[in-house]
Subunit: 299 residues, 2 copies
């Protein structure tokens, strides 16, 4: 199973990078193939300085070895020998009007256990409700095709996971998040494939319709400020980042998720009533699809 997953992640990286290059226009991904001293390796692709993307990273890896004791104790399966393969992407658009986005799909094996994890979440700076609904609706359709319980469960898990307790706010408007999916692996893998393929149609239309929205220095400054929260989440809370750094992963590939330019200003608070202040209304767990129906969505 994990071999099949690894091969599929590899193909998904090609398809996603192709779609993102088409979307960007002149931007091209640069590829680094790397090997991990402890076993395995990966293929990191970064598009920097594009027309749409200031920095976009799409990474696949397939690594194996021995987990450190604490990580071995906190994951399913016997022993410490593990294999982990997956795809991880974070896109940082230049325009503050286009949301930042993250997606990750992975398959792990340790001892007798094999499981899938993953998800996708959207982080707008100037949120548009229609975009948020489109993103969630796309992910829900992928979930509903496999299990009507998936979306509500994974949407809630996403809200819980992508939360910054020290800021009292969500990282963005959420999406789906799942981990330790074990059991009928054929069925689960089929779901993961659909979720992975849903990424491009969930994100690209949003980027396409916001990319020409006007912005200036004020919006850029707000974006740089908000990117600080993204860094805080990734370095303080993100399990994937911690897992990667602790298992001797390739630092540059793991930290490609960090934004290209970030500002921290002491005690910066948007003026009440401003467009920037509106964002905080979106950074709370919200049922974005309440009252909406999914045309053609199966249940």
């Amino acid at each position: 199973m994990i071999d099949a997953a690894a091969a599929w992640f590899r193909g998904l990286q090609d398809r996603i990078c192709g779609a993102l290059e088409t979307l960007d226009g002149p931007g091209r991904f640069r590829q680094d193939e790397w090997t991990r001293p402890g076993g395995g390796g990966g293929r990191t692709r970064v598009l920097a300085g594009g027309a749409l993307f200031e920095k976009a990273g799409v990474n696949i890896s397939d690594v194996h070895g021995e987990l450190p004791g604490e990580l071995a104790a906190s994951t399913p399966g016997q022993g410490r020998a593990f294999r982990a393969t997956g795809i991880s992407l974070v896109l940082h658009p230049l325009s503050p009007m286009v949301p930042t986005v993250h997606a990750n799909f992975r398959c792990l094996a340790k001892g007798e256990a094999t499981w899938f994890g993953g998800g996708a979440d959207l982080t707008p700076f100037y949120p548009v409700r229609e975009d948020v609904v489109h993103f969630h609706r796309s992910l829900r359709a992928a979930c509903d095709a496999h299990d009507p319980g998936y979306y509500p469960r994974f949407k809630k898990a996403c809200d819980e996971y992508f939360f910054l307790p020290h800021r009292g706010e969500a990282r963005g408007v959420g999406g789906i998040f799942f981990d330790y999916l074990q059991g009928d692996l054929d069925r689960i893998f089929a779901f993961v494939r659909d979720a992975g393929e849903a990424f491009v149609p969930a994100y690209v239309p949003i980027a396409a319709r916001r990319r020409d929205d006007p912005w200036g220095e004020r919006e850029r400054e707000f974006q740089l400020h908000r990117r600080g929260r993204y860094v805080e989440f990734n370095l303080i809370h993100d399990r994937g980042t911690v897992f990667g750094l602790k298992t001797g992963g390739r630092t540059e590939s793991i930290l490609m998720s960090l934004p290209p330019l970030v500002r921290w200003t002491y005690a910066q608070t948007p003026e009440p009533g401003s467009r920037e202040a509106l964002l905080s209304e979106y950074l709370k767990p919200t049922d974005w699809l309440a009252g909406t129906t999914i045309p053609g969505g199966s249940t």
Copy 2:
């Protein structure tokens, strides 16, 4: 003892802020007094957009309450009730030719235990050996006046603590770091006072002699890139940051340590032989004072 320490930290904040305003010229600290819901509070001072300092934060706090279980288990003294008071500062100059610097001195009490911790470390971008030696010599003089064993021990602890394993490099050129200093508290407090008062003469002359060194876009970009490592250390490794965020500290005061503007560029490596490449020679534990003597230093 901890009352006396709290009062002294308060005075030290005034003296350091006064010296830094004089050094900066037009820059002035803005003060926020705050209270902590769980008990206690602090006084945060930030100077932003000065002539020398892009962002300088000098914070004192005196907080008390109950430690979370994991923190209570990993610190000296019985029970969970604690009080912690201290001063913490991080200075981010605008000029890449002037080093970033950090210092922190603190006193904690929990159950029957009272202890001091603290230190100071320097993070240059374009290091000058004479500056590094001056910084270490100033701190060694403060140490030597109390115990000839302090400097070697605290210098080594600093090298070990301010290290980024995922980058395989030190945060900067070190300084001193000490923690859990218990026992003869009068003697220890006398040392902490001398170490705290040593900060201004250790740092200010370096900033004064480098502030007019010329720099341009290239040096600025390198500084923004290197500041990324500072963020990585503070959010991934720094015990004070983690302690503060986990004990419900004031987020803006804790994260005032983060640089004002930061850049992460994928796989950025200085050209071999460039001035930027020289920095890596400095980011290794080094006996900066080997072969030097301290005029007037007691042993």
